[in-house]
Symmetry: D2
Subunit: 329 residues, 4 copies
């Protein structure tokens, strides 16, 4: 099955915002490499560590007992230097110094953009794994970390519902998702939210007020409004303030979930996705692929060119957006 | 969109083994009915309650604050009586007494088999929702409760790994799945198990011993063997005993996870699947469908005839089975 | 043991900020009353519902399956009206209308103050249970909800540590506790925080900066600063801004945990404390006590006069404050 | 405060059954030693590693990011060899080889017994920390790991209640506690169990049957019987079988929670107790103490001679045992 066993040494790194499951992915990359008799190296702190040569050998033991850990043992960072040709050249020289033949890049859009340019300039084969909680990458049904982030948000919403209900309150809850409403829509449906505000659709303040007041008339004991951080009406605090200005008698509170959504032990789905794409990345490299991302679509491992993964849109299903209206009746 | 608004009253019930997310499904059924201006009733304890007329009106409020609760507020039971024609006739008369036009049945194979016969005999339209932790139903990628059960098993395995590792032990962990290895394979991959024994593939005691001894040679600090309860080599206790008889120096323990896998607050994925199929079931009834199950495949709502859902096989992807070998290296 | 069985009907209510375990306490009150052959009533929404006569009979079944639920099934509210004599008089008339002989009040300082005045004016016997997440009540080692709130904060801090560590960041995490640093100090110790800022002790911005910079010199991969919302240096956002202004090169983020600390299924400790004080409250009433709070000190049930519970201070042990310095070395 | 700064090197080890919080304790020991300018070593696998000289230097970094981890990074084991004089002599020589002046032993009865003999024979100062989930050690209100084990059991019972309730079932749930009913009684109260069977009190099969049948008459939708593994009537499976033989119409299931109770991330209470006793152990050694255990009673750090910790009884409060009867009414 693996025709092109020219590859002798691969390296793996994580880059961009960290996501639960990145460690499971690193583990899969390391063990698949060893299973295929290739040496494997870890690069610390993404492109920054690549430039500085923070590169070390990894064994099967290096990734023992990390599958359940949040964060990334290889750490992550942004690198301004890698955006310059000079920086990338230095990175390439470091990789050559370590005789690295191929790279596995775990991250999101920005990570893949860097890898694509790097490959064009220096011919370093790279396969990506979609590691980001935002689920905004084309070419995979889900991204590594997304399912954990949704469940973390959901557990928080469940807790907030407890107190909202006890006090007949309205809560505006802001979840992560600068350009994508995935976390908002799924945690909103799962949390039984009355309203979900996402960048993808327009929900006006007037609509929010109307729904909340209808809820009060129907003696709803509480209402939850989920706001994706990238919503066009502003953040949760802004929106709540506008609603408060325009209404009376609603007891309104705001919570911004923040960085707890980035951490925590990954869910089963994230560990499995991370494992499958990690294996897929190494097998892809061995099969001669480059500048592609390993993803899982319809429960099958697929490779998508970096440029599609970066540029193409992954819209939220209309059906999901409609759900909220029906179920919050 | 809904052409056949002949339906005026639907009833919903849960049947067979309970599964986390059933409440989210009931909620979706009730609210979708109300949204479409149909009356909705709840039947207690499945077919048994149908026969006894334990049927009551439900409002939007009846399903407030249940989306996050495990179990089923409508309860579940097995009914020997419904297996007789006499029993089914009585059930039909009860439904007529309440002017019920259509049914939503939340359950698994057995539930759908009952509903199919019932429809053939008495013409009562029924649409099903796949509610079972086993994920052994054709026509839907996942079943309601499966994702929660896998994550419950996974959290247990994580805890067991902690103690196994501290004592350099081998643990045999039995998970649910009488005819299906889905929970075993996914919790095994997620939990970093060394071996997963499922009904679908043959793993001999000799192979188990070989892998465990190889692990010891490689100084693995612990080994986890996941056993699906329906494995052909027996249950976890039996298999562990055979391994103990044939080896020396392995410190072996057994844990049977049991019914904790049936309970707990449902995960985001289960709540969403339950909501989508609950909505789909009512919409299906309104559109004139019967004896079909509402499922989600490739992230699209689809209807599958009961006979296919019951009879057709849903095999585990070979890729997943292979994963365990590669990753436990 | 119970000499004064004059009491025939007691009522229970929750008041002030809700806390996990209030439901377990209501359950204990209801069942202890029934066990002692007294009728028991629930009052909705605290003093507000008392004034409005929102009072209903409760049975053993009314409190089935609530021990594990966050929030309060009797709801909570603030009542401006009860602060007036007129309001209290109306409340008293309502209680007389229902033939209520005694009250169990689950809440904090404000709740007990109201109950004390009410008893002085109208002679209505009331025993309190300490229900507040803040643990700021004298006469009990812990308050109902406190242990859950600490563990919720701790789980959030664990998640934040994951991402802080991956990016070598400093996080300022604000936890609840307007007048009390208990949640901050215990979640800070448990979360391995580098600094904990509480109202009880003075920590200057200069000290914070010094500790953070020492951490950087020692190559700490992340630092967590826990800020109690009532800290004298301002809230977490303010403090972080001051630190950012005065330093360079620290990658600083802020998270305000907010209302998630009020919800969630109560821990074992909170359920047990709630059960013990709930029983103790009813037994206290039956024994002729009034205007006292049932608490648990040194694992013994004790009664403390409302005025002490309200007025006396419960300082944080110095030993705990010192812990943070030693352990974050 | 520390008069006897003769000590220059201490070593820490964990022994006996592992318990959540042992890592937090190791962390506290290591950092307190460093804070006091003493060198600190870790001994792997308890007395076994001591005999074999598996002893290594620890730094502040060695214990970074372990406070939240279950298990023990120093591992644990039983050592038959240490029960012989020869074994202990070898252990002593190893410690001398490393110039170790004092020991911190984290474990239970067996661990302390070993340490006491060792001190008597070779004069090696040792202070203990109570690390065991069983809470059966005199001289401390709680043991490290106990609170986590109770909460793990409780979460499992909550899940089981979900499914028991859906099917109107009786569940016998076996929890850990060979000689002590602490986990049983506290998880039973917290879980709303109908019956709790502990070694400390006698509950006959006839009483169990009577309570279960009364529950059925009162239309209880489910019943949970918690059985401590050391109950005099046998294990949960035995007891359930006897009840099944003597009754009809009860739908009875059994679950043995097993080793999941030993693992998992420690609760706040366990991390704090572990930290306090870890600090106390090192400070105790520095103050010239030996053959004592550092515990926390009434929220104060106290030292108890090993012989008392081992021999004296810590009975369960009668009040707690009575609770179950009142609350399950």
């Amino acid at each position: 099955m693996y025709k092109f066993i020219f590859m002798k040494r691969v390296a793996v790194f994580t880059s961009g915002g960290d996501a639960p499951g990145m460690n499971a992915c690193i583990r899969a990359v390391v063990r698949t490499a060893i299973y295929n008799n290739i040496e494997v190296y870890g690069i610390m702190r993404g492109y920054e560590g690549m430039i500085k040569g923070r590169i070390h050998r990894m064994e099967s033991k290096s990734v023992s007992n990390i599958i359940q850990q949040g964060g990334t043992i290889l750490k992550s960072a942004r690198s301004a230097e890698f955006r310059t040709y000079e920086g990338r050249k230095q990175a390439y020289q470091q990789l050559k110094h370590f005789d690295i033949d191929g790279l596995v890049a775990v991250g999101g859009d920005g990570t893949f953009t860097g890898a694509k340019v790097f490959h064009e300039e220096f011919g370093m084969p790279t396969v990506g794994c979609p590691g980001t909680i935002d689920n905004d990458i084309y070419g995979t049904d889900y991204t590594i970390g997304y399912d954990t982030a949704v469940n973390t948000a959901l557990e928080a919403i469940d807790k907030i519902r407890d107190t909202a209900d006890s006090h007949n309150r309205v809560f505006f809850v802001e979840v992560m998702g600068r350009d994508s409403g995935y976390i908002a829509i799924q945690s909103g449906i799962g949390g039984g939210a009355e309203i979900v505000m996402v960048p993808e659709t327009e929900t006006t303040i007037a609509q929010v007020i109307e729904t909340l007041q209808k809820g009060r008339l129907n003696h709803k004991s509480s209402s939850i409004v989920i706001v994706a951080e990238g919503d066009e009406e502003g953040n949760a605090t802004d929106i709540a303030a506008k609603v408060m200005d325009a209404t009376e008698g609603l007891d309104i509170k705001v919570t911004t979930l923040g960085h707890i959504q980035r951490g925590g032990s990954p869910t089963a789905q994230d560990r499995i996705l991370a494992s499958r794409t990690g294996i897929g990345a190494v097998e892809g490299l061995l099969a001669g692929k480059s500048s592609v991302m390993a993803g899982v679509k319809n429960n099958k491992l697929v490779y998508t060119p970096f440029e599609d993964a970066i540029d193409k849109n992954k819209p939220i299903e209309d059906e999901l957006i409609k759900l909220v209206d029906v179920l919050s009746i």
